[in-house]
């Protein structure tokens, strides 16, 4: 397994990309909590696959370009990245915010994609099924809501973040707010184009996801024909932290089939 961190320049924007492992290519799009939070999952996937893990525009170690205003900008930026690197046959895997970006990419172009895996994805709104909120509640309360097992949250909260980590958190929250404040974590124009995704699609969800309840998985399943759903038992929203093994094996099985 190789571990590389590389700054890639895409149309004047410096993007941080981690490139792990070898094998069929997975492009992993991280969630609200950033790429580092998924290291247990991506490390496990890198035992079987080559896993490319970019920091999104405006998050982690990637620049915040002045044009970054909507989730569409995020998607087009990744389409530019794939052109720059000339990468094909990608298995696109995205968690919450990353799932949303993956969907926005896929309704625009599936040319370079082999399959799409969504984990607890944002992007749509189901009337009458309230989502958890990221901004009205305190960060600690939000974190506690992400797990089925409260001990997982305690372990994270017991560690005091460094000044650098705090700054990254503020940077990430700014970008999430910029693209996802209103309507909350939703693109009202996404749902009507989901039929354009002509790919094998796998929807993975924690059974006790309190940020995006399981109804959202069912709604994606209804909206994307041929998609299939895997529900992870005793698992909250943050499956990559709570059940990294089970999540990795669900991803791996599906990716290997395609």
């Amino acid at each position: 397994m190789t571990t590389e961190r590389e700054l890639i320049e895409v149309r004047g924007v410096k993007l941080m990309m981690r490139d792990l492992g070898a094998g069929p290519r997975i492009l992993y799009l991280h969630g609200f909590d950033g790429a580092q939070a998924a290291s247990a999952l991506t490390g496990r996937l890198a035992q079987e696959f080559r896993v490319l893990i970019p920091d999104h525009a405006g998050m982690g170690e990637t620049d915040t370009p002045p044009w970054l205003e909507t989730i569409h900008d995020m998607a087009y930026f990744y389409l530019d990245l794939l052109d720059t690197l000339d990468l094909d046959d990608l298995h696109l895997v995205g968690f919450d915010l990353g799932g949303w970006i993956a969907l926005e990419i896929a309704i625009r172009s599936t040319e370079r994609l082999r399959s799409l895996t969504l984990i607890g994805s944002a992007g749509i709104h189901v009337n009458g099924v309230p989502k958890g909120d990221l901004f009205m509640r305190s960060p600690d309360v939000v974190l506690r809501s992400l797990f089925a097992d409260p001990a997982k949250a305690d372990a994270i909260l017991s560690r005091k973040p460094t000044r650098e980590e705090e700054d990254t958190l503020i940077k990430n929250r700014f970008t999430i707010a910029r693209v996802g404040w209103h309507p909350p974590l939703t693109d009202p124009h996404l749902a009507k184009w989901l039929h354009r995704i002509q790919l094998p699609v796998h929807i993975i969800w924690g059974d006790t996801d309190r940020l995006f309840p399981l109804d959202y998985a069912r709604e994606f399943e209804r909206s994307i024909s041929g998609s299939r759903v895997t529900v992870l038992p005793q698992c909250g929203h943050a499956a990559h932290i709570e059940k990294p093994e089970a999540l990795a094996s669900a991803i791996s099985t599906f990716v290997k089939e395609h």
């Binding site: 901004f135 009205m136 509640r137 305190s138 960060p139 700054d167 503020i170 929250r173 700014f174 999430i176 707010a177 910029r178 404040w181 209103h182 309507p183 909350p184």
Partner: protein, 394 residues
């Protein structure tokens, strides 16, 4: 000096038991805690208290705008201004509100304010604000665009006020192909624009632009922060090629005057503590949502705005110079000292705060009007040889 009188109009009949169930009286406190019958009494009591300001000789009244809170019952300050417009004849009314980034259309704001200025014959002052952080949560407005929308909406409003022929406005947030508002404002070129703030470098830079020269009002802040930001305003103005005078600066603080220092402290204490501890408080994540202010301003806020987050006492507020409290002599000495030391010509006294009852509000107002204002009239006023600086000429 000029003396303005500020009223927050709080809903002061909060049931302590209901209040104790919530971490703030903003956003989360359900409106079942509001009794409309008592609200009716309060609106009329507060309007009476404001109208008294004209009889007592104040130069102006200050209204503000806040949403989803018991802190103030004035989500629509233009309505309160309209209610006062015909009941007063001389006094200026400064609306420290119209949080334009929260509004869908700045032209509605431009039109309402122009109407008020016409009805009042040019007594209107417009203190545009961004709204506080939590208001971006309750209105669903993206706080990362707060500064952009604040700047662009004001640009549109000022152009709409001053243009005498239709024009096209091509902004990022507001794109209007044909702007031609009726009526135009009464004042030429337009009502004075003030910039009320809790203090931030961004706001100073905005107000002290050469083409703005907006009056900068530092509110509810520790004395050293007030002094520092007012000095910064002068420095920025100088850097921009013009010289700020006291006419460009104002200070806002809660005031309570009584017969002696001891009486004043005893009478102010429970009510100013209720203002800070019951009405004012917001948890940090709702006070400063993402993008509402720069990282640097966020870090500084924790230092300057001491009363925001922790429990407050009158003693601590006095120690930091955040409030004026005492006999007429004490208050006038402190106020004169601050005005000369910091260099402002306008004081905005919050004469009502928290649970302060009507009788004490009126007593303090009268003492201030009779035994403070007349002694300070000449402080920081331009002499004949130094004509008053024009702080808005466009």
């Amino acid at each position: 000096m000029k003396f303005f009188y500020f009223h927050f109009m709080p809903y002061l009949h909060l049931d302590p038991q209901i209040r104790a169930e919530y971490d703030s009286c903003w956003m989360v406190l359900p409106n079942r805690a509001y009794d409309p019958k008592r609200g009716h009494e309060l609106y009329n009591r507060y309007l009476d208290e404001l109208e008294l300001g004209e009889l007592l000789g104040f130069d102006g009244l200050c209204l503000n705008e806040h949403h989803s809170t018991a802190y103030g019952m004035m989500p629509a300050p233009n309505l309160i201004c309209a209610a006062l417009a015909r009941r007063t004849k001389r006094i200026k009314i400064a609306i420290l509100g119209n949080a334009t980034p929260l509004r869908d259309h700045p032209l509605m704001v431009a039109e309402e304010l122009a109407m008020l200025d016409n009805i009042m014959g040019g007594r209107l002052i417009c203190g545009f604000v961004r709204g506080i952080g939590v208001e971006y949560l309750v209105w669903g407005v993206n706080p990362t665009y707060s500064h952009e929308r604040f700047h662009e909406s004001q640009e549109l409003i000022v152009r709409a006020w001053t243009a005498t022929e239709p024009f096209a406005f091509e902004g990022k947030h507001y794109h209007v192909p044909w702007v031609n508002i009726w009526p135009r404002p009464y004042q030429e070129p337009h009502p004075p624009i003030w910039t009320p703030t809790n203090g931030s470098t961004e706001t100073v830079e905005w107000a002290a632009r050469t083409d703005h020269r907006y009056k900068y009002l530092q509110n509810l802040s520790a004395a050293d922060a007030c002094k520092r930001y007012m000095a910064l305003y002068r420095d920025v103005a100088h850097r921009n090629g013009w010289e700020a005078t006291p006419a460009h600066l104002g200070w806002g603080c809660p005031v309570y005057v009584a017969e002696t220092d001891a009486i004043a402290e005893r009478e102010m204490k429970p009510h100013i503590e209720s203002f800070y501890n019951t009405f004012f408080r917001n948890p940090p994540h709702r006070f400063v949502p993402p993008g509402y202010m720069s990282l640097e301003s966020m870090r500084r806020l924790a230092v300057d705005k001491i009363p925001v987050f922790g429990p407050q006492t009158l003693e601590n507020l006095m120690k930091h110079g955040i409030v004026l409290c005492g006999s007429p002599k004490t208050v006038r000495e402190q106020l004169a000292h601050n005005a000369k030391d910091w260099g402002f010509d306008t004081h905005m006294g919050a004469f009502h705060f928290g649970t302060l009852p009507h009788e004490l509000t009126v007593k303090s107002l009268r003492l201030f009007a009779e035994s403070v204002i007349p002694y300070l009239r000449d402080v920081n006023e331009p002499t004949v040889s130094q004509p008053e600086a024009e702080y808005q000429h466009q």
